[in-house]
């Protein structure tokens, strides 16, 4: 595969993978928080946001992290100590497990599962466990209500998300994320291959459902019932402070970044450019510079999708609990089932 990588010993590769994984999780999280949460949200409310720490407040993130690290690590007296302590780590670890399957270039991947899509969707639901643990262990009724709401919501919205991805898998004929990228970039639209065949066009309904489900999985605002601050203080995060809260916070935005990565792999062509631009036909023809260019292309697409997620977050009020469940079960799931049937019929027909 990658000549440079195979020449270094296994422990070296492991360190490289750990480093790459950390960068792939933390860099999007930091970028999303500064660019969208601090700046874009402020602009949308006609204010400037943080301006004091560094030029245009660009060092604000470090100030925030420093602030959280020096805060007291509070814990309720009757909390389940071990579960309380480990819950944020479970949430964050699901993000790290998720980024493992995302391909960033022809050889710039951490692992290359055959069933990558299956793995990603399975691992993304581990965070539900962490949230439920946090809600239960806090010994606080608001936390418990928030945790239960989160569990109900995340399970309800995992279904349309999985069903939306099934359409992509049927069209690509593979569950390997790398193959899905190649299938999109090597594809053609009715014989014209200038754009490849990004599944955004053919699976537009699937894309919409996937993005709505991602919004709900991230508990971003139209779906932020679990942390509804006007009813539940802060939901399952009520009792957390200091660096445990910081881990929840990083987890929230890192997961947003990683889901945006996965959405760009599934629907926007991932790291690739349309192969016809450079006369490539398959993954083995792709030039080595794509291992550097690919991550940059991914980052751009990720920022575009994260912009949409945050834009929706800052524009809409929150759903009521029953509306939220009804929307998932009565609207999204039937539409995505119809989408699967239509995709498979068209797949067989063409």
């Amino acid at each position: 595969m990658f000549a440079l990588l195979s020449s270094i010993p296994y422990w070296g590769q492991t360190i490289l993978r750990l480093l790459g994984g950390s960068v792939a999780v933390l860099l999007p999280a930091g970028t999303i928080v500064y660019l969208f949460l601090f700046k874009m949200m402020s602009f949308m409310q006609s204010r400037l946001g943080p301006m004091e720490a560094g030029p245009y407040g660009s060092m604000q993130l470090f100030a925030e992290v420093g602030k959280w690290l020096q805060k007291e690590d509070l814990m309720p007296e009757r909390a389940d100590k071990f579960v309380f302590k480990i819950a944020p780590l479970v949430v964050l670890s699901s993000t790290f497990l998720l980024v493992v399957v995302v391909p960033f270039g022809p050889d710039a991947w951490i692992t290359n599962f055959e069933a990558g899509v299956f793995y990603a969707l399975a691992v993304s639901s581990v965070s539900v466990l962490g949230i439920l643990m946090a809600g239960w262990a806090s010994a606080n009724k608001y936390s418990l209500l928030g945790g239960l709401r989160a569990a109900g919501q995340l399970i309800a919205y995992e279904l349309p998300m999985i069903l939306a991805v099934v359409g992509v898998v049927i069209q690509a004929g593979s569950m390997n994320l790398q193959d899905i990228v190649v299938a999109q970039n090597a594809g053609s639209i009715f014989g014209w291959d200038g754009l490849g065949n990004p599944y955004l066009l053919t699976q537009f309904i699937g894309f919409l459902i996937f993005m709505i489900a991602v919004q709900a999985e991230l508990t971003q605002t139209p779906f932020d019932m679990p942390i509804a601050e006007s009813e539940l203080v802060s939901g399952y995060m009520t009792e957390y402070s200091g660096f445990r809260f910081l881990i929840f916070f990083i987890g929230e935005f890192a997961t947003a970044g990683v889901f945006a990565f996965i959405a760009s792999v599934l629907f926007l062509g991932g790291w690739g450019v349309p192969f016809s631009w450079f006369g490539w036909t398959g993954i083995n023809d792709v030039d080595n510079w794509m291992n550097v260019g690919g991550p940059l292309i991914m980052l751009t697409k990720m920022l575009g999708l994260a912009f949409i997620i945050m834009w929706v977050r800052f524009s809409y009020p929150r759903f009521r609990e029953d509306q939220l469940q009804r929307f998932a079960w009565k609207i999204l799931i039937p539409i995505s089932l119809v989408n699967i049937v239509a995709t498979s019929v068209l797949k067989v027909a063409f």
Partner: protein, 163 residues
């Protein structure tokens, strides 16, 4: 489904505001660097005109927070006309307002029968120590310099006052 156009309209509002903020600047000001002038009649701080105060205690008694502290004693002043009786006047010893308690309702200003209390729009008097928010007679007197001139009466208004 009929709600879909409204959803896009909502996205348009936030996006429009973002573009406007980037191109025309924000509605807010960067406070320590740029200061907004408060309106002339803003309720910033209460100033005391000591000469007008008769320590009648009306303000202290009407204060909902009990944040005004007044102490005084009677003194004999020389008679106004030759051969008259010496007058008893109230002398103000202490007049403190505790701004840690004050809720800026302005009842004291309204209730003062001798125009001794005034609103000033000055607002920058926060202190690191809460005890320093107790403004004494001399400090309240200094705020008089920041009190804006009273607006002109309307034409034909019945003007009362000392002859």
């Amino acid at each position: 489904m009929p709600k879909v156009p409204g959803l896009f309209k909502g996205l348009g509002v936030t996006f429009g505001t973002m573009v406007e903020t980037i191109t025309h600047g924000a509605n807010t000001v960067q406070y320590p660097h740029v200061k907004e002038a408060p309106p002339v009649r803003a309720r910033g701080v209460i100033a005391l005109h000591e000469g007008n105060c008769t320590s009648c205690m009306l303000c202290a008694r009407s204060c909902p927070d009990w944040c005004i502290y007044i102490e005084g004693h009677k003194e004999l002043a020389p008679p106004r006309r030759a051969g008259g009786k010496p007058r008893a006047v109230n002398k103000l010893d202490r007049f403190d307002i505790d701004y840690a308690l004050c809720m800026y309702c302005g009842i004291c200003v309204d209730v003062c029968p001798f125009d001794a209390l005034f609103w000033s729009p000055e607002y920058e008097y926060s202190e690191p120590r809460i005890a320093d928010l107790l403004h004494d007679k001399s400090k309240l007197g200094e705020w008089m310099e920041t009190v804006p001139a009273a607006p002109e009466l309307e034409v034909g208004a019945d003007k009362k006052g000392k002859k």
